[in-house]
């Protein structure tokens, strides 16, 4: 018989190891092949491999702390206090093979089958920590619009607006930080968060923050391997050397190597857009619309947005800008399209977390917070970005064809509600609906297609 186990206690100094040893002694006596992973204050040691877990007849968890059981889905699992393994290990060997089969909630099974390995799992770790920040920040901003109008007037509304901005702004360091955390454990967090913050400050968008997270994670992973210090100094590694070296290296690379092309891209596009004056307005709408979606508030989207804002500066009283209108409405498409796909059209293509994020993406989209689509885009960049870009471009072009115009740079649906604020408001809503539907169906279709292809391979 083969058995695997985990031991863990609250201080992680003695009981963890005594329990492990006693299980091993008792197992040997009964000719049971046993391996015990210890989760103590030194960290996890003697870590169980996937193969060992797959081969085991039963799992024993002897712990007085909460141990993550995700790895043991479908195994017979006995969970007891750590002292039981010290006191009567024999008894545990009798009980474990008869223990109930552990299954992570039925929910998991219905979810999209995802390959949880390597780069993808790091990506998902970052995204799952980021989602609540996007949701909290976005909803707060929407609330501020609801209370105080599109300029969030009034003390309460402006305070909520500020809160929303702070929560939203934290999404970048959280994304970068937890991607790196997933790769390199705790020491990855610092350079990852710094890299995310830098990406945010130089308008590198979520792709920049992701890149920074991966850079930070693998840098620390590598540093941990090559830096070998005499034991007298080993205590300095996690508190002084790793944080400082990794932040310096990752930060400088982000700033001077990654940053240069991104800043150049942003400036280049801005100049290029400015040179386009006199271009056919429908083509311009198509172009701006696509740009608003292609990197979701990254360097390209930001350039398009500020081009729209610039068009407001020389408006006379009572005039509206068609350019700004096209920019805003197409920026609303990505989150709305992802909400449509994840909560209506293709629910089972998304994880539970994503479906929850999808519900709030409705609100975020209506509030012109394109970031609402980022959790989806970060998890599956190519398919999501391509799909939302198509719909956004169509919406941008339609907005121009319908000659819609606005005079404010933000507010989303809250602007629609103000009588007279939007030229041709009904057609404006139609343009939004068409683009949302196109992108929503498109992203659902490509996801279904790719899953079928994946299934055929297996």
């Amino acid at each position: 018989m083969k058995i695997v186990g985990i031991t863990s206690c609250s201080t992680g100094i003695a009981h963890t190891y005594m329990a492990a040893e006693n299980l091993e002694i008792a197992g040997k006596k009964r000719n049971i092949e046993i391996k015990v992973e210890t989760q103590g204050s030194i960290g996890s040691e003697n870590v169980l491999t996937e193969q060992e877990i797959a081969d085991a007849d039963a799992v024993i968890i002897a712990a007085s702390t909460s141990v993550n059981k995700d790895r043991f889905n479908g195994k017979r699992l006995l969970e007891v206090d750590v002292t039981e393994a010290i006191d009567h290990p024999d008894d545990l060997f009798d009980r474990a093979p008869k223990a109930a089969i552990y299954s992570t909630a039925a929910e998991v099974k219905s979810e999209a089958k995802v390959e949880k390995s390597g780069i993808y799992s790091h990506l998902m770790t970052g995204v799952s920590y980021m989602i609540p920040f996007v949701v909290a920040g976005g909803i707060c901003i929407a609330l501020a619009f609801a209370f105080g109008g599109i300029n969030a007037k009034g003390e309460l509304a402006s305070a909520i607006n500020e809160l929303g901005g702070i929560a939203m702004g934290l999404m970048w360091p959280i994304l970068g930080g937890y991607v790196a955390f997933s790769i390199a454990d705790r020491p990855g967090l610092v350079p990852g968060m710094v890299a995310g913050m830098i990406a945010s400050s130089m308008n590198a968008g979520f792709l920049g923050a992701l890149l920074g997270g991966f850079l930070a994670g693998y840098t620390v992973y590598w540093l941990k391997k090559v830096l070998k210090l005499p034991s007298a100094f080993s205590g300095l590694l996690p508190v002084l050397i790793l944080p400082v070296v990794s932040v310096l290296f990752v930060g400088l690379v982000m700033k001077f190597i990654v940053g240069i092309p991104i800043t150049a891209l942003n400036e280049g596009i801005t100049n290029w857009l400015n040179s386009l004056s006199g271009m056919n307005s429908v083509l311009l709408g198509l172009l701006l619309g696509g740009m608003m979606a292609i990197d979701l508030a990254g360097p390209i989207g930001k350039a398009a947005y500020f081009f729209g804002v610039a068009s407001l500066t020389n408006l006379g009283a009572g005039e509206t800008s068609m350019v700004m209108a096209a920019v805003m409405v197409s920026g609303m498409v990505p989150p709305l399209a992802m909400a449509l796909s994840s909560t209506v059209l293709g629910k089972n293509l998304y994880s539970k977390e994503e479906r929850e994020a999808g519900k709030s993406a409705w609100v975020l989209g209506l509030s012109f917070i394109s970031e609402g689509a980022i959790p989806f885009a970060a998890a599956d960049p190519l398919r999501v970005l391509a799909s939302v870009t198509v719909g956004s471009a169509i919406t941008g072009a339609l907005s121009m064809i319908f000659k819609c115009g606005i005079a404010v740079p933000h507010g989303g649906f809250f602007v629609f509600l103000i009588p007279g604020a939007v030229e041709n408001v009904l057609l404006y809503i139609l343009a939004l609906a068409i683009g949302t539907a196109v992108s929503g169906f498109l992203v659902t279709a490509v996801k279904v297609f790719s899953q079928k292809k994946q299934a055929a391979k297996e």
Binding site: S10, T11, I13, A14, H15, T16, Y17, M18, A20, E21, N22, I25, T38, G40, S41, I42, G43, S64, D81, T83, I86, D87, S231, S234, G235
Partner: protein
């Protein structure tokens, strides 16, 4: 290389504990830490140990107890060993008196080397022959030999 001697110093070994009840025995052994400066404030440290005892007894049975406390009052990771032939009333898991007591003191932050020593020692204690030898050893050197 950190060794068992760096943690379990000769001064922390008492082969003939006088106390017969749990609290007094822990205090008796903790005093050796204070003398050597390994613990700066014994009442803070003892509070941490007794708090841990309240969670669940560290009298793990077979006459062994491993009371431990993590506290800022600890300056360096230390291990004390006390033996009582008569036995200490300890409220152990198996209800029997304790003859071998290992008192562990860990600072709030400590390096892994020391914790590894403690984890190895904890594992050793689960072996019956180790426990029997500990009951009969006469001097400090022999104790080190058992653990090395």
């Amino acid at each position: 290389m950190t060794e068992i001697r760096d943690v379990l110093k000769p001064a922390f070994i008492n082969l003939d504990l006088q106390a017969t009840d749990k609290q007094a025995a822990i205090r008796e052994l903790a005093n050796t830490f204070v003398h050597k400066g390994a613990v700066t404030n014994d009442s803070v440290y003892l509070d941490a140990v007794m708090k841990r005892e309240e969670e669940s007894t560290t009298g793990i049975g077979f006459g062994v107890a491993i009371p431990h406390g993590k506290s800022a009052a600890v300056t360096e990771p230390s291990l004390g060993f006390g033996r009582s032939q008569a036995g200490i009333e300890y409220d152990s898991m198996d209800g029997k008196p304790v003859h071998l007591m290992f008192l562990i003191a860990v600072p709030e932050t400590s390096n892994d080397e020391h914790l590894k020593i403690l984890s190895k020692l904890s594992r050793k204690l689960m072996h019956e022959d180790v426990r029997q030898k500990l009951m009969t050893v006469a001097d400090v050197e022999e104790i080190y030999q058992i653990f090395e």
